[in-house]
């Protein structure tokens, strides 16, 4: 992938993406990074230096819970899942995001009567 295909995520968006991936089911950090890359069709690559501080912050805010389980390779990994608080937060933030993109889209694509 060429560098120019990548872009910086707006502030706070990474949290939303991480939580969306975790909402599918308990998952460890490495798989979260891979899932985001696949789901974005390779457009997003989450660096470890952004991923882990975000996971630890979300866990500290009790939006995520974690436990150690054997991974697909048999080695123990730290699996994250959403807490009830995390689910509510994800729902609210997803709605906010949709409203925001709708509004920004209206302005970027639209014309107003009286403005040519």
């Amino acid at each position: 992938m060429k560098t120019e295909d990548r872009f910086d995520l707006p502030q706070g968006t990474l949290d939303l993406l991480i939580m969306r991936v975790i909402a599918i089911g308990p998952i460890h950090g490495y798989a979260i990074a891979q899932r985001i890359q696949q789901m974005s069709r390779e457009a997003l690559q989450v660096q470890q230096g952004s991923l882990y501080p975000a996971l630890h912050r979300l866990e500290y805010k009790k939006l995520l819970a974690s436990n150690w389980q054997p991974s697909e390779t048999g080695r123990e990994a730290k699996f994250y899942e959403l807490t009830a608080k995390g689910r509510a937060y994800l729902k609210k933030e997803t709605e906010n995001w949709e409203r925001l993109t709708d509004v920004v889209g209206l302005i970027l694509k639209g014309t107003l009567e009286g403005i040519s």
């Binding site: 990074a33 882990y52 501080p53 866990e59 390779t73 990994a77």
Partner: protein, 218 residues
Amino acid sequence: MSWLQRLFARKRMEIDLDKELHFHFEAQVADKVRSGIPESEARRLTRLEFGGMEQIKEDCRERRGAAPVLVLSYPAWQSDFAGDPTVVGSTVYVETHPLTVVGIMPPGFFGDRIVERPPDLWTPLSNEPSINGVGTSLWPQGDEDTAWLYLLGRVRPQTSVPALQAKLSVILRQWMFAHVKFTAHGGAAKIPRQHVFFLPEGAASRHCSGKPARACEC
């Protein structure tokens, strides 16, 4: 939580953090190996992609709201805290910044050199900018040549100290030759006489009258 529980909780968190990042590292290496990259190369690439493992850990600790830590010197523990063992795990303020005491150094440890007023405490280098603010030495503004950090290390038991001294002396001289402040005003002629000396911990001042060991001319 008591200080002991806090200390154990912190230790547990450190072990988990290390284990978690290593799991990611190994999984990334394994994926590269599966795609046909030889293991040594896969490890090298993964290390590059990871960047500083310690920096990631420090960012994680910060996001968990963990207060930065410090270790007290034995004399400071005796004089400022009357030797109270419950100080471990408590918060002390260093220039208004809260730091958690995680330990006390043994008596007789004074850091890299014996100076008249030895340090009262040690804290990880990464805390320096938050304590010193804009005056930070870690990210100097303008003066790229700033050299202020003294290193203290352990050598492996089989290491030949004279050979290591010779090797580091060469590196020191190369570094000095590359900087005008050492070569100017006839300084270049003196550089070949510069040596690095390895001395037992705290013994540097006796040998070099307080100058850092690496820059002493003997």
